[in-house]
Amino acid sequence: MTVKVLFFGPAADAAGRSELVLEGAVDTDELRQRLLGLFPKLRQLGFLMAVNKQVVQEKAVLGNQDVVAVLPPYSGG
């Protein structure tokens, strides 16, 4: 099972990339921990995650081919 992770704005800076394919993440809590381990700079940034363009506030189970976006605080306008 793979998910595709997209990094935006300052999160792309912190991860040094704009996307990443990961294997075996079962839910968003576990994915968050793996991302923080891989890219410690994400810690100070703070971010929400969107699964298939829907922001998830609580733990969500991930499915194969899901697209997970790492969304630091927005700063449009």
């Binding site: 363009k53 969304l71 630091p72 700063s75 306008g77």
Partner: protein, 140 residues
């Protein structure tokens, strides 16, 4: 839209509404890039990026909600992507209604929601080409 919103584009948008003679009031919000000084360095431009598909959905939802809640004739929302220099316009919200109350209320609510709900990020670029990420006052 790519790059800044031009005054000519705004004028064209206004002119197009002259055929809608049931409109009595327009409220237009324009966000302009400020040359803020951050740690002693002056912002000369902001480069905007977005999660575009999600941003489109968020703007669509904001539009629908506003039409549902307020008695509006029409509404247009444009946010720049890419480079916008200090003094140029990066956000254009244009709300029209028969009477002014609805246009005022809706325009303000739409702007607040855009800032909160639309996944856009601004990278503030300084004179020496270094940058920092913009922080909105009401972040998530």
């Amino acid at each position: 839209m790519q790059g800044p919103v031009s005054p000519a584009f705004i004028a064209e948008s206004i002119a197009k509404h002259s055929v809608k003679t049931n409109i009595g009031a327009h409220d237009i919000f324009l966000g302009q890039v400020r040359n803020d000084v951050i740690n002693g360095k002056e912002v000369k431009a902001i480069a905007y990026s977005a999660y575009e598909e999600m941003a489109d959905e968020a703007v669509y939802r904001i539009r629908e909600d506003a039409f549902e809640k307020y008695d509006l004739t029409c509404m247009h929302i444009y946010h720049s992507l890419g480079l916008v220099r200090a003094g140029e316009i990066s956000l254009f919200v244009f709300v029209s209604s028969a009477h002014r109350g609805a246009a005022f209320d809706a325009c303000r609510e739409i702007v607040e929601r855009i800032k909160k709900e639309v996944p856009v990020w601004g990278k503030e670029i300084f004179e020496d080409e270094s940058y920092s990420w913009k922080q909105n006052k009401e972040a998530i």
